[in-house]
Symmetry: C2
Subunit: 248 residues, 2 copies
């Protein structure tokens, strides 16, 4: 039975690579690496710790899921003071839906860091969301609730959560933006290109120009998602002008 | 439409009474009373705040439920390192079961503090658990996650959670204790008496004596629960002797 340490630190270079990749994902320096190593250890590695307990990311998924639910509950509670219990419950389940979590994990490229004896191509889509939950659990153990909350705010709430959109009031920021451009006679252009970088998963980047000036950039796992992300960014950058034009 | 302030603070004496009763339940001094006032406001009061949002404890139930789940998840994660994700999920659902939360809310006498237009006798059993969840939500808003965690540890984990018992390994501490007493030829006596105090709910107290010396006291909403609670306390006080006798 191999130990966690052996797997991630077989050479000091490996440790450095894991640390560097992780820091990039987290946007802060991890303190206790072992939690993150567990978060990226698949059950197929068949690892036990010194006390004989099985070590893989599945228990951290349980913990991360709970933290995610708590943070999103607080966010929605504060953000939607008019929403009753039923509304809040429904909205949270949309935010932490399997599909949404898989998308998040995929966008963060978490699968790159997994240690597994199963080839990565054989994993289903759920591995992305599972790794995301496990990562949240590891952050909680490493840095506590506040850091966990901050990570979720930066990584989910900021770029992904949009109450209006979750409520179905806004279907697509791209269409809102185009509508506004046509009304205001603005020229718009979505310049999309493949930008997979070091990721195992195909990625696309987009530069959105209004009147030949780049106003927003975004990157995601599909062309459509990247365009929507850039549109949302542009929408909020021009929100004042757009709502004025829409009301008038 | 009456405001929250009017209801709880119609006389300064009332504010004092609410504050005192609350501090006794919380075991710390609340900072922002309005959260707790919301936690004890039933929907039948039909209250809105200055922004027109409905104010009652139902939204806080949602928040408190999430915090409770997170804290218990972390507790079980740490406490049962051998338990897998399925085990942890199952154990948590036992801890935060409706029945368990109702018992907790009842034991804390939360219903005494409720402001409602419906007579308290007409509420079902779930109000106790709902109020407990709402109270946890209010603590989170007032004092943050760490204080919330501490409250849950003191109020639930300490007196109520017993992994062995939840796992069904220990059915009753009373029977374990009696077994030990008979083996060791110790005289035991459960002195139970009604002790409802200022509560709206009937309560019982018990003094448990071993060889005519009181070794544990407990109070609960039924004779059986009070006896079990006292037995558990005595069991842990004499744990060393008991396990020695049981093994030999």
């Amino acid at each position: 039975m191999r130990s966690l340490k052996n797997i991630f630190n077989s050479r000091s270079k490996d440790k450095g690579e894991f640390f560097t990749a992780l820091t990039k994902i987290l946007n802060f320096k991890p303190k206790t690496l072992k939690h993150y190593k567990t978060a990226f250890t698949h059950r197929s590695m068949n690892i036990k710790n010194s006390k004989g307990h099985i070590v893989n990311y599945e228990r951290l998924e349980f913990l991360g899921d709970a933290m995610l639910s708590a943070v999103i509950a607080h966010y929605l509670y504060t953000e939607v003071p008019s929403g009753d219990e039923g509304y809040l419950t429904k909205m949270r389940s949309k935010v932490v839906s399997r599909e949404h979590l898989n998308e998040l994990g995929k966008d963060l490229g978490l699968i790159k860091l997994v240690k597994s004896k199963i080839p990565k191509g054989q994993f289903g889509d759920n591995i992305h969301g599972n790794l995301f939950e496990a990562l949240v659990g590891a952050i909680y153990l490493d840095k506590g609730y506040a850091a966990c909350e901050k990570f979720i705010e930066n990584r989910i709430i900021g770029p992904y959560i949009d109450i209006e959109k979750l409520e179905g009031k806004v279907i697509s920021y791209k269409s809102l933006l185009i509508e506004w451009c046509q009304k205001e006679k603005k020229h718009f252009d979505y310049n999309v290109y493949e930008d997979t970088g070091n990721s195992d998963v195909k990625h696309f980047s987009v530069k959105l120009s209004l009147d030949h000036k780049v106003v927003a950039k975004a990157r995601a796992t599909s062309k459509k998602k990247a365009e929507e992300k850039a549109s949302k960014r542009a929408y909020f950058a021009f929100q004042k002008e757009i709502s004025k034009a829409t009301i008038l």
